[in-house]
Amino acid sequence: MTTRRVLGAVLVFVAAGLAVAASFLAAYAVQVELQGRTLRFEATSWLVERDDFRGALLLGPIEYGEGAVGAALVMALSAVLAFRMPAARVGSLLGAGLLAGVAWSAVTSVQGIVKKVADLGAPVPFDVEQGEGITLLVVAAGVAVVSAVLHQELPKRVVEPEGDGAVIHQVEADDSETPPYGFPVIVEPVEPKEQKSD
């Protein structure tokens, strides 16, 4: 396995870890200052962490946790299996795609919530902020895509056809190499001039 692919495998693990961590961090928060008090709604991808509005905003978690953890599992499994089965590398692409799709939808959902809260037309301004969970999810998706590409086999490799087991040696590049099935190793010392005389 080349250095590039080892780096790719390491980054696949990093992306998987970031994706799992992102699912447990705050996805978004809505906050309003009202008569000197701060009312806040905050949710991770799994549950509502804090809701001072007692459900009045009709908001809930953006459920990217299952998708992110699923993608992380696919990526981690692929990175482990690829050390023995090169074909398993495709799993890192699948996981990266999954994670990118989940991250894109999650960002769209946060933007939707910003619009939704703005459309409430409340007399006091609501402050909607994207949480570090979504930011980390986007970073994880970016790292996952880069690592998945590094993890793959690049097409530049020229495949040597394996015929009937004969090893084909490269003879054009370096004059110091011997041709295949060239001169046999001479075990018994033989006079050089005798060979030349042939």
Partner: protein, 202 residues
């Protein structure tokens, strides 16, 4: 035997078509009995807009409109299918898998969000006869089918690449080890051709 290289692009195009059509079909409908006293308000949603019946102004743009990302992944799958048909597997196979994975991720998140919305509206503290309902419609099934068909197509695109992939890995920087079991073989950088060398020195 079915040629995987032909089936994979067909499945990818079918998946892209299903995704595009599914994004414009209604994905779910919520009905609110008792709206405005004795009537009923029905909201139909697709991946782009939500329409109300009876209408309340123009159809509203959906807050979390997922139509655009789904169309992008559908386009990527079509591009991958075209390159697969042109035997550019080394480029097409990764693109197909990435796009199919992204579509699956979006559809998964969408279905989970709809499920959460259903649970949320069912928990509202209203009388039994005014309980809102959420029905899953054909668009959702089309999107799920698109995601599954896309994944199968992408997987088959990888299988088509197998003969190249299963070759023994070659480390470009490593020293080439020659087989020495056979007496006919020569070691690397083996015995120089004595006659030629002697001729040169003379």
């Amino acid at each position: 035997m079915i040629d995987r290289r032909r089936i994979a692009p067909i499945l990818l195009v079918v998946a892209a078509g299903l995704a595009a059509v599914g994004s414009f079909e209604d994905t779910y409908r919520t009905s609110y009995p008792g709206y405005g006293g004795s009537g009923e308000q029905v909201l139909s949603t697709n991946l782009w807009i939500v329409t109300a019946d009876p209408p309340v102004g123009l159809p509203q743009e959906l807050y979390n409109a997922a139509g655009f990302p789904v169309i992008i992944t559908a386009v990527l799958m079509v591009v991958a299918a075209v390159f697969l048909m042109r035997r550019r597997t080394s480029f097409a196979a990764p693109v197909a898998m990435g796009a199919a994975g992204a579509l699956a991720g979006m559809v998964l998140l969408y279905v989970l969000q709809v499920r959460r919305e259903k649970a949320a509206i069912l928990s509202w503290p209203v009388a039994e006869e005014e309980k809102p309902e959420l029905s899953i419609l054909g668009g959702t099934y089309l999107l799920v089918a698109a995601a599954l068909v896309g994944l199968v197509g992408a997987a088959l695109a990888q299988r088509g690449q197998q003969p190249e992939e299963t070759e023994e890995e070659v480390d470009e920087e490593a020293v080439v080890v020659h087989q020495l079991d056979d007496d006919d073989d020569t070691p690397p950088f083996g015995i120089a051709i004595i006659g030629e060398e002697q001729q040169e020195t003379r």
